[in-house]
């Protein structure tokens, strides 16, 4: 599942970031900002126009990502162990 498809409020875990093309600086920056395997994420708000951008809570930080940016991030919904 892609982060862009994650419903608002559902907790999920990052499952890697895909490069949209070779040497994708957006994907690299996402990794630097903490979008790495196993990191819990959540959609906390969506933009007023067309649900774009989305506001992502990762760690203690909130990042506004456009849907195309959020689509680079794979997420999985983990059943509480």
């Amino acid at each position: 599942m892609r982060l862009s498809e994650l419903p608002k409020g559902s907790p999920a875990v990052v499952d890697g970031v895909d490069d949209a093309h070779a040497a994708d600086p957006i994907a690299q920056r996402l990794r630097d900002l903490g979008f790495v395997d196993g990191e819990p994420v959540r959609v906390v708000a969506i933009g007023p126009m067309g649900g774009d951008p989305v506001l992502i809570q990762i760690g203690s930080t909130r990042f506004a990502l456009r849907r195309a940016e959020a689509a680079r991030v794979n997420v999985r919904i983990e059943v509480a162990a």
Binding site: P25, R29, D32, G34, Q57, S60, T61, R62, A64
Partner: protein
């Protein structure tokens, strides 16, 4: 530089409170300039430590990573690495991290550590961290990181004491430098996790107050309503807080001019002092209060953390006209002046988004246009109440701001569709915690920006006011002349030549004449009009003089002209410098001239038909 001066570089993630810490350490003793050849701001300050040693502090641009994505991030990386030309490598790096957001900030600390330079970590916002019940085992963190860790509260008096003591002591030993490759970069996150697990307990990932506020400010409906109300209040405040102070300054300078005149014999010199110097400066300086009120709001909104929220709400809209939510902040700054606005576009990483924002920024109604708006609105628009609450003059002012914004959107939309590069560009914007702006930080910001405006004001405007006085006073009218003296001056000839170009949009020769210095700096148009209408005359006020001399249609046309007209020379110079291209300057000037002429033409012809 004495041997005892220690060069300290201050680095950190954006929103770590680095600038507040810099202000706390250096107070007002700061020097703001640019890095040679680029337009990234270089902020340097000094302070004397208790030992008597002078510490030189460099506030580097905030960055998330040394994998730089923009010019300011590159500078931070290169200065820290000691490879930036003309900048001595720092003796010590103070890395500032937000204690409430260590998951993000510690990664950068590890990146800085790998440079192999002496590093001190300042855990900032420790007060907020404690309030939120975050417990950090500082000795343990210090041991695991292998570098000195001090606690700071940048926004509290004395909150940097531990940091001052630490940097005043022995320079810590540097960790061994490590190579930077993809594998080791990926490893940084694992290290951060280990550190956090061992040293930090956090009852809750976010501040409850942020969650509560964001539910309202980011709400699809209420969020936009709050944004609209905030914007509207800002502009009403500019008019109702700034205007009375403005009148006071105008009267003060008028009185000083009269006093000066009584000390001199009648003649050209007396006329230069009263009409040229005091009249001109007083008229223009009088608008400083309105400008400062506007800056005050922009700085407070920025410091409080609201601006990125506004950018979040507006990103989709901005994107639809070929911009980005990040364009919002430079564009909002352009309401004060396009120059800091255009310079502020440096935080936009994508060159295409940046250029689009630069080209549109001058359409935002800058404060230099306020004098012209205020004069014409005061002279032609009655002070009526609309819907019982709003002042009609304020409503017209709001409409002019709106005209600029709508024009900018149209231009952005056209640019988006005619440009060749249509690829993707990132938003990736952090929404920081809400913070109560601190008086000192607001005051320093206000002072810095006010000083920039004043520097432009005194140099350019004083020169032009005197030049205007000269060309509108000489040559003197021939013996037996019947008209006002100015009709026989150089100014009269130039204005009459230009009026053929501007007649279709309702400008007489006096207005055409005032447009010449307006190109140098828009606010001088008022000084120029004051000179052409008052020199040798006995008018009691420029507004009244104008109301008697030009029609309502011409006044409206002039207002619209100033909403869209080609920007001042300084703005063009900044565009040249920021984009390194004369072509962009030509595009900018050309499209604005056409837009302004067309809009004024329509307004003038329609208004004339109706009145």
């Amino acid at each position: 530089m004495s041997a005892s001066t220690l060069k300290i570089a201050l680095v950190g993630n954006p929103n770590c409170g680095k600038t507040a810490l810099f202000n706390q350490l250096t107070g007002g003793r700061q020097k703001v300039a640019n890095y040679a050849g680029v337009t990234v701001e270089r902020k340097e300050g000094r302070f004397t430590a208790p030992s008597g040693r002078v510490l030189q502090l460099l506030d580097l641009p905030g960055t998330y990573s040394f994998e730089a994505n923009s010019p300011d991030e590159q500078i931070t990386r290169d200065v820290c690495a000691g490879t930036y030309p003309g900048e001595a490598p720092p003796d010590l790096i103070v890395c500032v991290a937000d204690a409430t957001n260590l998951r993000l900030h510690l990664r950068f600390v590890l990146e800085v550590k790998r440079l192999g330079r002496p590093v001190v970590l300042a855990l900032n916002m420790m007060d907020t961290a404690r309030q939120r019940g975050i417990v950090i085992d500082v000795p343990q963190l210090q041991e695991r990181l292998g570098l000195p860790v001090v606690e700071t509260i940048a926004v509290k008096r004395g909150g940097a004491k531990a940091l001052i003591e630490r940097v005043d002591g022995e320079v810590p030993a540097a960790a061994p430098a490590q190579t930077d490759d993809a594998a080791s970069r990926a490893d940084l996150h694992a290290q951060v996790r280990e550190l956090l697990a061992a040293t930090v307990t956090m009852p809750r990932a976010t501040a409850a107050i942020d969650d509560a506020l964001d539910r309202w400010t980011l709400h699809p409906v209420f969020g936009l309503m709050i944004l609209a109300v905030v914007m509207f209040l800002v502009f009403q405040a500019v008019y109702s807080l700034g205007k009375p102070m403005t009148d006071l300054i105008g009267d003060g300078f008028g009185w000083m001019g009269e006093q000066a005149a009584t000390l001199m014999s009648a003649g050209p010199l007396q006329s230069l002092v009263t009409d040229g110097l005091f009249g001109g400066i007083g008229t223009v300086l009088g608008f400083l209060p309105e400008i400062l009120v506007l800056f005050l709001f922009i700085i407070v909104l920025e410091e409080s953390g609201y601006l990125p929220r506004a950018a979040f709400l507006l990103d989709r809209l901005m994107l639809s006209v070929g911009l980005t939510g990040r364009s919002f902040i430079p564009l909002l700054s352009s309401f004060a002046c396009a120059i800091p606005g255009i310079m502020g576009t440096r935080s936009i990483q994508d060159p295409r988004d940046r250029l689009a924002t630069i080209l549109i920024a001058p359409l935002m109604t800058c404060s230099a246009r306020l004098p012209v708006y205020a004069l014409l609105i005061g002279a032609f628009i009655p002070t009526r109440r609309v819907f019982g609450v709003f002042n009609l003059q304020g409503v017209v002012l709001f409409a002019l701001y709106l005209a600029g914004i709508l024009g900018a959107m149209a231009v952005g939309w056209v640019m988006k569709h005619i440009r060749r590069d249509k690829s993707e560009h990132a938003l990736l914007m952090e929404l920081p915690s809400y913070r109560l702006p601190k008086v000192r930080d607001v005051a320093i910001g206000l002072y810095e920006r006010g000083a920039i405006f004043m520097k432009r004001l005194t140099g350019v405007i004083l020169g032009l006011t005197v030049l205007m006085w000269f060309i509108s006073t000489f040559p003197s009218p021939p013996a037996g002349a019947t008209g006002p003296a100015i009709e026989y001056s150089f100014a009269g000839y130039i204005g009459r030549a230009l009026q053929y170009v501007f007649a279709p949009i309702g400008f007489n020769w006096q207005i055409s004449l005032a447009l010449i210095p307006a190109f140098a700096a828009r606010e001088t148009a008022v000084a120029a009009l004051a000179t052409v209408y008052l020199v040798g005359g006995e008018a009691s006020g420029l507004g009244q003089a104008l109301a008697g001399q030009i029609s309502l249609a011409s006044a409206l046309s002039l207002l619209v002209w100033f909403a869209y007209a080609p920007q001042c020379m300084s703005t063009l110079a900044v565009i040249r410098r920021e984009t390194d291209s004369w072509r962009n300057v030509a595009i900018s000037f050309g499209y604005m001239f056409v837009l302004a002429y067309a809009a004024s033409f329509v307004v003038y012809q329609v208004a004339r038909a109706l009145t």
